[in-house]
Symmetry: D2
Subunit: 369 residues, 4 copies
Amino acid sequence: MGSTFGTLFRVSTFGESHGGALGGVVEGCPPGLTLDLDAVQAELDRRRPGQSALTTMRGETDTVEVLSGLFEGRTLGTSIGFVVRNHDADPRAYAPFADRYRPSHADFTYDARYGERAWAGGGRASARETVARVAAGAIARQVLASLGPVEVVAWVDTVQDLTSTVDSATVTAAAVDATPVRCPDASAAAAMEARIKQVRSQGDSVGGIVRCVARGVPAGLGDPVFDKLEADLAKAMLSLPAAKGFEVGSGFAGTRMTGLQHNDVFVPDATRGIATATNRSGGIQGGISNGMPIELAVAFKPVATVFHAQDTVDTAGRATTLTPRGRHDPCVLPRAVPMVEAMMCLVLVDHWLRWRGQVGAPPPVPLRG
Amino acid sequence: MGSTFGTLFRVSTFGESHGGALGGVVEGCPPGLTLDLDAVQAELDRRRPGQSALTTMRGETDTVEVLSGLFEGRTLGTSIGFVVRNHDADPRAYAPFADRYRPSHADFTYDARYGERAWAGGGRASARETVARVAAGAIARQVLASLGPVEVVAWVDTVQDLTSTVDSATVTAAAVDATPVRCPDASAAAAMEARIKQVRSQGDSVGGIVRCVARGVPAGLGDPVFDKLEADLAKAMLSLPAAKGFEVGSGFAGTRMTGLQHNDVFVPDATRGIATATNRSGGIQGGISNGMPIELAVAFKPVATVFHAQDTVDTAGRATTLTPRGRHDPCVLPRAVPMVEAMMCLVLVDHWLRWRGQVGAPPPVPLRG
Amino acid sequence: MGSTFGTLFRVSTFGESHGGALGGVVEGCPPGLTLDLDAVQAELDRRRPGQSALTTMRGETDTVEVLSGLFEGRTLGTSIGFVVRNHDADPRAYAPFADRYRPSHADFTYDARYGERAWAGGGRASARETVARVAAGAIARQVLASLGPVEVVAWVDTVQDLTSTVDSATVTAAAVDATPVRCPDASAAAAMEARIKQVRSQGDSVGGIVRCVARGVPAGLGDPVFDKLEADLAKAMLSLPAAKGFEVGSGFAGTRMTGLQHNDVFVPDATRGIATATNRSGGIQGGISNGMPIELAVAFKPVATVFHAQDTVDTAGRATTLTPRGRHDPCVLPRAVPMVEAMMCLVLVDHWLRWRGQVGAPPPVPLRG
Amino acid sequence: MGSTFGTLFRVSTFGESHGGALGGVVEGCPPGLTLDLDAVQAELDRRRPGQSALTTMRGETDTVEVLSGLFEGRTLGTSIGFVVRNHDADPRAYAPFADRYRPSHADFTYDARYGERAWAGGGRASARETVARVAAGAIARQVLASLGPVEVVAWVDTVQDLTSTVDSATVTAAAVDATPVRCPDASAAAAMEARIKQVRSQGDSVGGIVRCVARGVPAGLGDPVFDKLEADLAKAMLSLPAAKGFEVGSGFAGTRMTGLQHNDVFVPDATRGIATATNRSGGIQGGISNGMPIELAVAFKPVATVFHAQDTVDTAGRATTLTPRGRHDPCVLPRAVPMVEAMMCLVLVDHWLRWRGQVGAPPPVPLRG
């Protein structure tokens, strides 16, 4: 059951790192949408390994094939099946891990959970599973565009201790993709790139923070009390490989302010009717979007594969050591950007359809943005 | 739909702050459990307003009445219905907010979402809804205890900039409840209490961070790729009122380490078979518990109700001002402790039953904790 | 989990026959609906025991209390909690069944499923649980009325071998409720009433068939391939106590026709744009409503409680005999009528909201009814 | 959403009759099962067109390719993706139906539901979608076999007015598959085969009834009150193409009996501990299996495609006529047999896992079968 995400707009995914293919089924897509398959492929290309010197050298074209749900280029409203074949699967490098648990990987926990494990490349636990999310998210992004002028942009905010300065109100996908590290602050990007190359040369790895903004989301999305918009976003983001933290709006820093400092006062607004003077709420209040940009951050730990000998145990519980091999990114951040955007799009579309189902026409709030 | 949480162990809740009652339906409870209703009431008492000078003065006994699902003191396995009546509902103080949006509250967004709003006390958006979660969580805690020797303890880690030192390996509920602020570091607790009284006297409010540990959780809980244990925990926590951030294990701080620094190496362990030398993973790897303590943190923003005049708009979009009234906590942290524990218990039980459903007997991993 | 029904419009119910109360939580109700609580009570009154000489003499007012989800008489869009207290619970008559399994009751299977059983009055297996469905269905009926001019009418079609003649195109609720047996064919109703009294006097019981029509349902409801409208209706009806069969449209009789005889040819229609000349499809084709009346039938077995000594076994597996006591209907059919209508309404509203969520505005089919 | 079936054991399917492929994702499969892919293929072969003179001549090998979820031949416990390519798709014969609605097909209702329609071969509404169900059901059958000695056998019980005599206690799959019509009563089978050939020669079609038995199901499966075992079976069967009716146990005929005649008295039983002397309950009481064979029947209408001119309307609502072309079965019954079995297996596995999740070890009922 854990490979399904969403309620009305829903994706079920499959695939291991070194299996035959990855893919999924997207259900609930509104019918009549002219689906741009090149745009879907473009998102996969952003996620693809081997894009730059910063990423793993595994060679995959990650070509998506849509098998159903389209007719004459338009969505039928019925389920969309798609597959992405693995071509460069090479399990040989992973044979030493068949009986030894790599530290901070999911080898041990998959054994504990299932008693079975595809040890090649991490199997289902590999970040390669995100191929299917990114494809589904790219469809979701097109649905979003058909519903309203929504822009979803993520970027690398920090790598280790290197921070950047980015204006969430104006940042563009083009600016993000202008550097291989996907940080739109050029000088920060250069430092980040140097850092990543440095740790790679040391056989080490680094983590960091991705930020994401969704601009143009109308007020009214979210389903309290459990399916609050920030709750579903938190789940979406923490389901990404290597994610360890989530913030919306002021996040942890906001806990240091007083209420009087933190509150976002409402002001009349010429274009959206109502707005808030600040956006510490991150575009969500009480679990529902308020028409301001949705702003969130996701912490990604450093990649667990480091090319040094590490202590561990084997599957019989005996102490041993292990020196990883295989092809790995020294830093997942650049490739996490399209993943974060995909999850944001999936959540927003699902809630938009849920809201439309329950309420139908927009509610009679004169001030809605 | 948004008032339902969980898959196999599931609660559906209802209730507004100033309506007739709060309550819910718990489904999927294992049968044959002798349910300690006093223990359920005790958790509600921990969440109850009016416990100390730090909390709202609303007078409610929050007495839970179980209406079904029990027979001769034991759970039947069928749905458990329960209600908690409101007694001290007093909407009068809220009349000024019927047509004016309180800053950083959910008044505006509920109007945007539904076009209807119970303006008294925040209605469904009030933290009073957590009565139903805490009751359900108290049932979940008893189910957990029947499944294994699991301990779930949360505490107030910070209030604003005031931090504490607490050992997650040994902290007890008794130590947490020993101070009204629910911080088991006595000197920090004293400072926090003073701070909360200070901001209350200023008509202001503060936020902070709650930490939670679950000790004794076996390896193997979690359902990748979307229903990873940390993903469901993140959703659970971000669904709490005023929550703005979530961390598991090393969280945001972990992004500043290298992989070599961050990795938790595996070591043989006399009692649990296998363990990790450190626990930066927070007890979860690849979305599945690894047998080490599950450790997480939740950021709560300062309470939005501050007793100062603030700019805002009315429901017609015109600029106005508003001075809040009503009964409110100056700091939700002490009362958030049982809420965080409740959500932790709900997630753990649900995943435990899901795991048992799919796998049946524990999987043949000799090293499982 | 089994006490929840529906996806977007969803009810979770609780309650045993001789417990404290029955009730539930309705989620997904569109906001802004002026809910007529008298109409909800009226449906419960139709289901209530003790209405006539044909039904059980248990004395219950079945008064519904709505605890949340309403404000100033209108639905808030958030969850609606409701309870119906048991007043005439009297477990004493059931004590002999605490350790003996009544034939064709659920005593044995509840023990097998849960290892626990509320033996008084059947516990959760009692038809008394339908109180909660009927209340939820009465809310659904009002939602339906707000969405379109839909009429849902059920009636008793047969009792044992006694058949009736009823025109589904014109039958009204008033005609149905004009006789205690709820058969709008007056002469058939008289015979049925006599038959029920006769079997009651013999300590025996009878079953029969309820038919139901939903007129005014637009074309387009249903979600192939698994959530076909007829599939969800079949589930809804077979979830009713004592239901053993389901037909939509031509049902089993249709299997005796050839395709040429069976097909419903399409014809232009002045009022609905398109219609079918016959309605063997029962208003549903390929899992989706076609704008014609939805017509279905549900078979109810004879009540299992008969006041004769019957062979059985005790909970230790030893042969014994048992002579039922307690208060029971000799025929569930008259009271099944509001239950069938309730389930029809629940399914139709759920699919209507699902359709609206996915498609939004009605699709551009010029011929839609 | 409508293309997903099941809760813990779940399949999401995709595919149109003349699209690129059919397939699906199976979630929740227990890990460690050695999956016999030949057995999966064998079930698809039973469903495949072109098996005999009784079925459509479309030439498809329906070769299944499993893309994930297996490692070294065993299930991983994570999602199983599979595809079956279409090879003999030939939309040309369907071009006349692009703008004319075939009577009693889903052409009109898909337009009403989605505003889009894959007119070739019925698109998603084609019975060809059952390829994916049958593949998933074949996996479920193997899971069932790993859980207990369960046998699921379906057969053609009637074709039009031609009935058969089959002993549900002993009927075998081999006997069923011994005749092309899949009726294990040889003389009835001969008559049915002759009838089908006769109506085919007349360009007409026939329907009939499939019966199915599941022997060896333990007592205790089912989740009242809404997810009763018979309710989920009814939904499963009514979701099949052309299904119009469902019965469990005594079904509609049982409504003609009195309670005293109908009741299944319990008797001690040497092998199963407890049994019933008769099985009018069809193996299910109160929504839960009782250890007796589960027996059900499904009515299938005559195939809608008949090779005669019929009145209809075009997509603009104008009266016209239509003479079907394309490749169609004159009777779906023989190929419906594996479909019914697949749905039975899917429901049983799902409830088995749900029961195991909630209850864990079998409940302490000494008499369980």
